[in-house]
């Protein structure tokens, strides 16, 4: 069966520090991978998605970046965190065909102080 791992579960970082959130999927190959951010009052905001290794689509221009160094690994990064980067970050995967559902990780609560 397929599983998705996302870590860390919680993170407190000072403004200006770097960020690295990691997500891995097991039990499937060539999944579509997604990073969403959930902030109060803003719902679920799509940040990045990837349909293959090295293929990253960015939805929101900001100081975050994403990479997919391996088929089932998706990394969210920042060189310098802002206060506005605080939120709940969710990684998700789905098979490539249409109408397949997203499967979400447990999320990372990021607080930038």
């Amino acid at each position: 069966s397929q599983t998705i791992h996302q870590w860390p579960a919680t993170l407190v970082q000072p403004v200006g520090s770097p960020l690295s959130l990691e997500c891995t999927v097991e039990g499937t190959s060539n999944p579509n991978l997604y990073w969403y951010r959930q902030a109060a009052g803003r719902g679920l905001q799509l940040l990045f998605y990837s349909v293959g290794i090295g293929q990253i689509s960015s939805e929101v221009p900001q100081n975050l970046s994403a990479s997919r160094p391996q088929d089932r690994q998706f990394i969210l990064s920042s060189k310098k965190l802002l206060l506005s980067d605080s939120g709940f970050y969710l990684c998700a995967w789905k098979v490539g065909w249409r109408n397949s559902p997203l499967h979400f990780g447990n999320g990372t609560r990021l607080t930038v102080t």
């Binding site: 969403y36 719902g43 799509l46 998605y49 709940f88 969710l90 109408n99 979400f104």
Partner: protein
């Protein structure tokens, strides 16, 4: 650009009653997919129900059903016989065919009153 709007930030319903959550979307496409996801207090997102735009019949999953009105670009979720475990944030989502981007609304927080 496609957008998904959930106009009800919060709703409450008495246990065992029926509640309808609203969702509208904006698209110029004719072929797409719509979803409702549930996020309980554990914050683990799970799929509730999905609908293909080319299907006229409304999807149903046990106590959950949708009212899909393509011309009005409306996709509401009806929960019958509400249970305490239905208390959660509910998100409406849209996926265009031949695209891999999935966008969500802002969510509706549903409270179940015992």
């Amino acid at each position: 650009a496609q957008t998904v709007t959930q106009s009800q930030p919060e709703m409450s319903v008495q246990e065992a009653e029926t509640v309808t959550l609203s969702c509208t979307y904006d698209t110029s496409e004719s072929d797409y997919y719509l979803f409702w996801y549930k996020q309980p207090p554990s914050r683990q997102m799970i799929l509730v129900i999905r609908q293909e735009a080319y299907k006229q019949q409304n999807a149903t999953e046990n106590r959950f059903s949708v009212n899909f009105q393509k011309a009005a670009k409306s996709f509401s979720l009806k929960i019958s016989d509400s249970q305490l475990g239905d208390a959660a944030m509910y998100f409406c989502a849209y996926e265009k065919n031949r695209d891999d981007k999935i966008i969500f609304g802002k969510g509706t927080r549903l409270h179940i009153l015992p």
